[in-house]
Symmetry: C2
Subunit: 352 residues, 2 copies
């Protein structure tokens, strides 16, 4: 019998992601079609289904980890993958609501290599269509009108509130000189962990899983989210712009207090202290926006020297391990467990 | 036995509004307290509980028609008024989510005689706290974890989607030269009718009322909302700034295609045509923002001459009548019916 690791290695992750996308996208498109004009068009642009001129496009819809998890979680409860589809769609709608609003709040002009909605259609449409996707996410679940759909909606609402709390923390941290590693992890747990937790359990809830099972799957998803975010924080500084679709040193340009930064600042020692002085000076520097590549590279080198890069890579592995351990507490078919494990591996080794 | 009209006249509306406010406000405050800082403070400012400096304030919390309706609707289902409280709170949270976002989208700087949230705390907080209140509204209902709470949340979600559709229509109408009376009524039904419909039925749903009863109460609330909005449109042009807290000719300054305007434009005749020419010229006039009182007064006089003011006043009465007729299809205690009727009367004769 193959070990759990070998079983995970044998999973075709691409096919698993493709299945989630194939099952969820038509239902997602149908839900978005319900929006009154021009919101349906704005949403279709956001999802990459049309370009800014309104012509059909085959945009980068993202990695589709969440839909894959949602349909897989239905199988963890012994249900058909299709049972998880409304959950997958609801989670995608809520995720994209938060992207629309966050991009506007953060002033981000690019997402997935394209201009963000507020840049193309204006701030009012970004707010409005975000609101509409949020409402639609609840609607898609509640129209199932079962007790389990009510439970699923409640969990989605809890995750959505955490998402909003995380964005509030993210904004407030930007104005602070120091953020602790614990605060950063709490923020990332809210911004990324909570919704991946919901994605990992919502199909199971719709499939009738009890709360203990749903909680264990949420735990897997939460820590998977923290692993994902640790990798994202590494890519935000050292990622290849060609792959990430972001600028070089993206998070440094945005003065983000991401994990490598806060870990480096908390580490102590000469590089840590030098980094602290530099970032404090940067915060007051009116010329910051005109910094050269070399100046960002110098800061990235200090973060690495202080151990922030290594700590974050280790943290991704720690969170990955906790996620896998949570799976062991749930009774599920070995093939389903192997697929959950393979998705977790994929998240930690991804390059974009 | 007194007639239905006499019974309504005998109701102490002030006490009815006060009861809704007294039952709902503590629960609303407790819900808002759950928000992570600084969102709890921003929300408390919005609700008028504190001033911009953070000191306790006794702000104008509005007329509180919605909470009064929600607790009354529980009694229509034979339940205690308290049963309607989570519904009242959820509806207030969703209503205030829409105010926060609409004020930002519309660029409105004042509400209830105070600076709006985006003016005081910035656009990001207005977006974020709006999102949080929306999520909280669902949470307050879903944590009841009953089938009826799920039904109530579904109705609230439908109303919220209509609210968002209405705001989308409102924004798109501002860019159009002509809007039909039907389009205007549809927009107002979405923006105002849908949530008052939900407020008028949500307590009954929580109290176990069947869908036929809930639908009839929604119909009452929907048409009450249209009556309310017709009165609001009259106040938006001819209201006393001292009472409304808005500028003179407020809706004309904002070029709103409100009912008196669209009815006047649709009426035909010399005054209607002259008004159409003037408004078309205004739309292209870069000096519009510096118009004198006399110029707005001239437009208001043309709207009145073309019959827009009278048509809107008649429309308020028509909608009021449909609302009362919807009550007749529901079995409920005569005292409760009289109270619904009295609230409807109050909405149509209000001065602010």
């Amino acid at each position: 019998m193959p070990s759990a690791e070998e079983a995970a290695d044998a999973v075709d992750v691409t096919a698993l992601l493709e299945r989630g996308r194939t099952l969820a996208t038509p239902v997602l498109k149908k839900a978005v079609d319900r929006l009154a004009p021009p919101m349906n068009t704005v949403a279709a642009y956001h999802f990459g289904w049309i370009d800014a001129a309104g012509n059909p496009a085959d945009g980068d819809g993202g990695k589709a980890v969440r839909p894959a998890l949602a349909v897989l979680s239905a199988q963890a409860a012994g249900a058909a993958p299709e049972v998880g589809v409304p959950g997958a769609v609801a989670v995608e709608l809520v995720h994209n609501f938060s992207l629309l609003h966050d991009d506007l709040m953060d002033g981000d002009e690019q997402r997935r290599h394209r201009d963000t909605v507020w840049k193309v259609h204006g701030p009012a449409q970004a707010i409005l269509v975000g609101d509409a996707l949020f409402a639609l996410g609840n609607e898609v679940l509640l129209e199932i009108a079962s007790v389990d759909a009510g439970r699923a909606t409640r969990r989605l609402t809890t995750a959505t509130r955490a998402l909003i709390d995380g964005q509030a923390q993210d904004i407030s941290y930007e104005h602070r000189e120091r953020v602790s590693v614990e605060e950063c992890l709490e923020m990332e747990g809210n911004k990324t962990g909570a919704l991946l937790a919901c994605a990992s359990s919502i199909g199971a809830v719709l499939g009738g899983a009890d709360d203990v099972t749903a909680d264990a799957l949420e735990k897997y998803g939460y820590h998977l989210g923290l692993a994902f975010q640790a990798v994202d924080d590494l890519l935000g500084i050292w990622g290849d712009p060609e792959s990430t679709g972001k600028q070089t040193w993206s998070d440094l340009r945005q003065r983000k207090k991401s994990l490598p930064v806060v870990a480096a600042l908390a580490a102590g020692g000469p590089a840590s202290e030098r980094l602290g002085e530099l970032l404090a000076a940067d915060a007051k520097n009116n010329d910051f926006d005109n910094f050269s590549e070399a100046e960002f590279a110098a800061r990235a080198a200090l973060i690495e020297e202080a151990g922030g890069r290594q700590w974050t890579a280790d943290e991704a592995r720690r969170q990955h391990k906790i996620a896998l351990e949570a799976l062991d507490t749930v009774q599920m078919p070995a093939t389903v467990r192997a697929q959950f494990a393979a998705l977790a591996d994929f998240v930690v080794v991804r390059k974009r």
